[in-house]
């Protein structure tokens, strides 16, 4: 479930203080020839939070992160990172942040340990204690050549190199691709620890379970725009809860209730979905039939996500396609609408 942090910034309503925002972009546009990668992207990440940046491959997540790193120039819009301009203040800002790319390429002739020391010292100097602790926790053999590491181990090198420095902001671009579930758990622990110490993390991902486990707030990106942003709780309020109920007497009149959808009558009860604001009225109606057992499932992140990608999914399902790349291996199966 969501980790709640007592953030000093209560509301979004701008107090204008840029430093409360670790990342703030307005109307970012990035074009590659005729294709538009980012189409007016507004993203805000508050200082001290883990912000999930969700979307399928090709939605513009990596492009956004590379702009925030000053590796790409924007065609329009503005970006602020730790109170500075990511393009002009790149070197100064980079001392205060660490980056884990999703596709880690390393120098084949260097060992993992050398690559970690190198990347951490080029940033702001290596803390040998932190470095050794991270190597230990991620169970990495630092004496192997980078050319002989598997994808998961190359990913670990980048993660260890990033967390071997204590910096203000962690930019994590699909950081756990290729990690096994144990290492995934270690990764989540490390991120939570750092954010608990007041650091900020932007976690781009298409693994919804990971985002659900870690993030305070999430932004969903689609075709280069943010289509939804907020805390998971806020977003749940906007959606429906699934109810499975067993009753003494057969249910009647359910479909006439406001906010109830997809009602299915069973011989000993039924299943339906209900808009969050009508949940109370629906429960009151149920009690008149003698409730024996009731199971309520709040919407998962996948449900929230599919609200924005449902049309693509429908198009894919028509061809017997899978889930449109919207859910990762560990994603929970929610009931879809």
């Amino acid at each position: 479930m969501t980790v709640t942090i007592n953030s000093p910034i209560g509301d979004d309503a701008g107090r204008g203080a840029v430093m409360d925002m670790a990342i703030e972009t307005r109307g970012l546009v990035k074009r590659y020839g005729s294709t538009t990668a980012l189409d007016g992207l507004d993203l805000t990440v508050k200082t001290g939070e883990i912000h999930g940046f969700l979307g399928p491959n090709g939605a513009g997540k990596s492009t956004t992160v590379r702009i925030l790193l000053g590796l790409l120039r924007v065609d329009a819009g503005e970006a602020h990172l730790l109170g500075g301009d990511p393009w002009h203040d790149a070197v100064a800002l980079h001392r205060r942040l660490a980056y884990v790319p999703g596709d880690v390429n390393l120098w084949p002739t260097l060992t993992g340990g050398e690559a970690i020391d190198l990347l951490a010292s080029l940033r702001c100097g290596v803390d040998p204690r932190l470095r050794d602790e991270m190597i230990e926790r991620f169970q990495l053999d630092p004496r192997k050549r980078c050319s002989s590491y598997s994808k998961g181990n190359r990913q670990k090198v980048a993660i260890v190199a990033a967390f071997a420095s204590d910096v203000e902001l962690y930019l994590l671009d699909e950081p756990t691709s290729g990690l096994d579930p144990l290492m995934e758990t270690v990764f989540q622990d490390v991120v939570k620890e750092r954010v608990g110490q007041g650091r900020t993390a932007l976690l781009s991902s298409h693994i919804l379970a990971e985002a659900e486990a870690l993030c305070d707030r999430v932004s969903i990106i689609r075709e280069g725009q943010i289509v939804e942003t907020g805390t998971l709780d806020d977003m749940r309020h906007l959606t429906r809860t699934s109810i499975h109920v067993r009753t003494e007497r057969p249910l009647t009149g359910m479909s006439r209730l406001a906010g109830v959808h997809d009602f299915e009558a069973h011989h000993d009860g039924g299943a339906f979905e209900v808009d969050s604001e009508h949940l109370g009225a629906a429960l009151a109606h149920l009690t008149t039939f003698g409730v024996l057992d009731l199971e309520s499932t709040p919407p998962t992140l996948e449900d929230l996500f599919l609200r924005h990608y449902g049309d693509e999914l429908a198009a894919l399902s028509g061809n017997g396609g899978a889930n449109g790349g919207t859910s990762g291996s560990g994603a929970k199966r929610g009931r879809r609408r």
Partner: protein, 542 residues
């Protein structure tokens, strides 16, 4: 399902992937054969001149090492002797790299796993790679024969020449098949093939150096080490001289042993595994590595060392042969007359040194190009991205690689010049004249740096095209700049090459102004490149 199921499909896949690279190799090699024969026709006008050229080649230790055994005075025989080693090395690289590309590289990238999970036999991949490598060698042999026949050379010798090229290709395809089982990476496997090629070259150069001149003075009988080398076998076929067809059986024998060994190894090992393993390295970095410059040096030092050693190895014999310039003048008067027209009033030894070292200098600038393109390789592979995401600025990263390349260029060209001086000194005992070669090497430095600045501009403005533009630039310098005068190209074309503007020491007096202008141009271009690189997007993936 047999161990060979699916071979023909894999051959088609390999040919589809190689549809650009193999034709380039094949056409280049055939064009080069044509160029060698027509150059020989130009250098030696008649039988008498060829006889003195062959006698020079048989007697001179440097030509024995770099050309191989002289095999008579016919135009065909002399052309093959002159061009064989370079051509055979190209054929060996083409065939060997093709086999590695379709075996070890496939395993390294994991593509073999995908293929292996489908209806494909255990030995199908190796078989398909060998069919492609051996097939390309056969086509090169046929192409060589056709080109030589078209030039009007005798049928028997032309076929023998084709066989000598095909044989080397087949031999190194077999070496590559074994190397692909031993090494765990494409780099490692190609390195092993390169090692076998180097050993072959060394063995036959020792054998030819220790050989003796046959009666008649135009033919060299090689000593036994030449017979241990596949490159040597190709030469011992002696096309147009004697056409020893039975030597080709040695290639067949080696191919059978090599391919059999490779299949044996492949059947006994796991997918992705090799027989040579990496040793564990240091767990922490030394302080020297921990800066942008330190990383650049780590990435660049091997290439610098290899080029320095290589240019010394080539420079010494080039210097030593300078002492024989006057003997050479008797064997190729036309060529020497052209050289003397280029530098009127200079001594023949100086003219020869200026021309040879000038030529070597452009070759050594290959180091400059290769070292600077390392930056593009870093960017394209995605390794630059995490570096620039640290507190390393683009300017200092670019400056680090550029500085190392500039200093490295001075080292490579200086070492080449000194080596040539040393070679001349050993051969003639005259150090004073030999020092001209050092000067000839040093004046190339500003020109090489100007070429380097062009590479920087290409990298900054058109990153994806930088390798193509950079190598095309070097080729232009080599062809237009160094050979342009002989090809009688107009002066404006010659002026395109920065090397044209360096004084031809020791045949011409030293002149500081052109060198200064070259340095200013290099600095200006480098500054423009630096400004542009700071403003452009990173271009990841080629």
């Amino acid at each position: 399902m047999s161990a060979w199921t699916g071979t023909s499909r894999l051959v088609r896949l390999a040919l589809r992937r190689d549809r650009i690279v193999l034709p380039i190799w094949l056409v280049s090699i055939c064009v080069l054969i044509l160029a060698v024969v027509s150059a020989e026709t130009g250098i030696y006008r008649d039988e008498e001149q060829r006889a003195s050229g062959a006698a020079f080649g048989a007697a001179n230790i440097v030509t024995r090492i770099f050309d191989g055994p002289a095999s008579g005075t016919s135009l065909g025989a002399m052309s093959i002797v002159e061009g064989y080693l370079v051509l055979a090395i190209f054929v060996a690289l083409m065939a060997g790299q093709a086999v590695v590309r379709h075996t070890r590289l496939e395993e390294e990238t994991g593509r073999a796993e995908l293929i292996g999970s489908s209806v494909v036999g255990r030995q199908a991949r190796l078989t398909a790679a060998l069919i492609v490598g051996v097939g390309a060698s056969l086509i090169v042999g046929v192409g060589a024969t056709v080109v030589l026949l078209a030039y009007g050379l005798p049928v028997g010798g032309s076929i023998a020449a084709g066989v000598s090229f095909t044989g080397v290709g087949v031999a190194f395809a077999a070496f590559a098949a074994v190397a692909a089982q031993l090494a765990v990476s494409q780099r490692g496997a190609n390195g092993l093939v390169g090692l076998a090629l180097g050993a072959s070259f060394l063995l036959r150069s020792v054998g030819d150096a220790l050989g003796h001149v046959a009666p008649g003075g135009v033919k060299l009988v090689s000593s036994w080490p030449s017979w241990l080398s596949p490159l040597g076998w190709g030469q011992q076929i002696r096309p147009y001289g004697e056409d020893h067809w039975d030597v080709a059986l040695l290639f067949v024998g080696l191919a059978v042993v090599g391919v059999g060994g490779a299949f044996g190894l492949a059947a006994r090992r796991d997918l992705g595994a090799g027989l040579l393993r990496d040793r564990p390295g240091p767990a922490t970095a030394t302080p020297g590595l921990l800066s942008s410059m330190g990383l650049a040096w780590r990435l660049q030092r091997t290439a610098l060392l290899a080029w320095t050693v290589g240019m010394i190895a080539v420079g010494v014999p080039f210097g030593a042969v300078g002492d024989s310039a006057n003997d050479f003048a008797d064997s190729a008067p036309e060529f020497v007359a052209t050289l003397e027209r280029m530098y009127p009033g200079a001594s023949l030894v100086d003219v020869f040194a200026a021309f040879m070292i000038g030529f070597l200098g452009v070759g050594a600038a290959g180091y400059t190009v290769q070292a600077l393109l390392r930056m593009r390789a870093e960017e394209a592979s995605g390794r630059l991205e995490p570096v620039l995401a640290t507190a390393v600025g683009r300017r200092s990263w670019l400056a680090g690689h550029s500085l190392i390349t500039a200093v490295g260029t001075c080292v490579v060209l200086g070492a080449m010049g000194l080596a040539a001086t040393l070679g001349y000194w050993i051969a003639s005992g005259d150090l004073g004249t030999g020092l001209g070669a050092t000067g000839a090497g040093l004046v190339q430095i500003p020109a090489a740096l100007a070429l380097g600045a062009f590479v920087l501009v290409a990298f900054a403005f058109t990153p994806r095209w930088a390798p193509t533009l950079a190598w095309a630039g070097l080729a232009t310098c080599l062809v237009v700049g160094q050979l342009g005068e002989m090809l009688e190209l107009p002066q404006w074309a010659l002026n395109v090459s920065p090397f044209t503007h360096a004084p031809a020491i020791p045949a011409e007096p030293f002149a500081a102004l052109p060198l200064f202008i070259l340095l200013v141009c290099a600095a200006g271009l480098a500054a423009v490149a630096g400004l542009r690189f700071r403003r452009r997007d990173l271009a990841i993936a080629a």
